[in-house]
């Protein structure tokens, strides 16, 4: 899956419209109030030419921009908001950070072994650890 650079995320915010800058620190932060009164917020890294992992991009679309990946790219292509209100695809449930840290600590799992681990898999591995005599 192609993922956007941070410059493209910024271009998306301009095309989508309604995003206002809230603060500038290590990142630029933006906020948008939807007609329903719901508040969205996101950030843009200063490393504008850098891209991101597909999982991070999916997370940004789901949790921050609240649209589908197709709607993100349609907005960039058309230069105007392509929000349709379509339901976002169900994401793989990710484990809480405490579960991954416990797996790192108790099973000495490497990043390669933790790669993309789902909640169910993390729970299964931890249940095995906890059931050991």
């Amino acid at each position: 899956m192609r993922t956007p650079t941070w410059a493209e995320v910024e271009a998306f915010l301009v095309a989508d419209g309604g995003w206002t800058p809230t603060r500038q620190t290590k990142h630029d932060f933006y906020e948008k109030v939807l007609p329903s009164g719901k508040v969205l917020n996101t950030h843009v890294s200063h490393a504008k030419n850098k891209s991101m992992h597909p999982d991070t991009f999916a997370m940004i679309c789901r949790l921050q921009l609240e649209l589908t990946i197709d709607e993100f790219w349609d907005t960039i292509r058309s230069g105007k908001s392509a929000r349709t209100g379509a339901a976002q695809p169900v994401a793989v449930k990710r484990p809480p950070v405490a579960m991954l840290l416990e797996l790192e600590r108790k099973l000495h799992l490497s990043d390669a072994e933790l790669e993309g681990m789902s909640f169910e898999e993390a729970k299964r591995r931890l249940d095995q650890v906890h059931s050991r005599p």
């Binding site: 009164g37 508040v39 890294s45 992992h53 809480p96 950070v97 840290l101 990043d111 790669e115």
Partner: protein, 140 residues
């Protein structure tokens, strides 16, 4: 005002002894004096949800309640990035609470209070607490 100023140490001492004090000025502008440890206890049930993903070269720790995503080269870096963004968010949230309390973000108020009432060196632990779905049932 002078009377209130003179009485303040006594009120503080009572609050410190787990006796919250309600202070009123002109029958309005009510504020409560509450020991910080008591405030932390009151807010203890409010938990911070996290979603984490590890990929070689890029890890993420999301705080879905706040729409915050921490990104780093490792899980530890991603946690620190999420915490830094949450610190900034909490400050802004309280500064603009008059706005946020009329939005869906109103529900974040206890979480933001809990976060700022926690010493900075202990804030990381808030993200590592068992979440509702994992927590053991409360004793009857």
């Amino acid at each position: 005002m002078a009377k209130a100023r003179d009485s303040l140490p006594a009120y503080l001492e009572l609050a410190r002894r787990h006796l919250p004090q309600i202070v009123t000025r002109h029958d309005r502008d009510e504020v409560a004096l509450l020991a910080l440890t008591d405030l932390r206890e009151v807010l203890r049930a409010y938990r911070f949800e996290t979603e984490a993903a590890v990929h070689q070269g890029e890890s993420t720790v999301a705080l879905p309640q706040f729409s915050i995503i921490g990104i780093g080269d490792s899980l530890d870096e991603a946690i620190e990035d999420a915490l830094e963004k949450l610190r900034e968010y909490a400050q802004r949230y309280l500064q603009r609470y008059e706005f946020y309390r009329h939005t869906d973000r109103r529900a974040l108020f206890p979480l933001v209070l809990r976060f700022i009432a926690t010493p900075e060196e202990q804030q990381r632990e808030l993200l590592l607490e068992p979440q509702e779905s994992e927590a053991a049932p409360a004793p009857a």
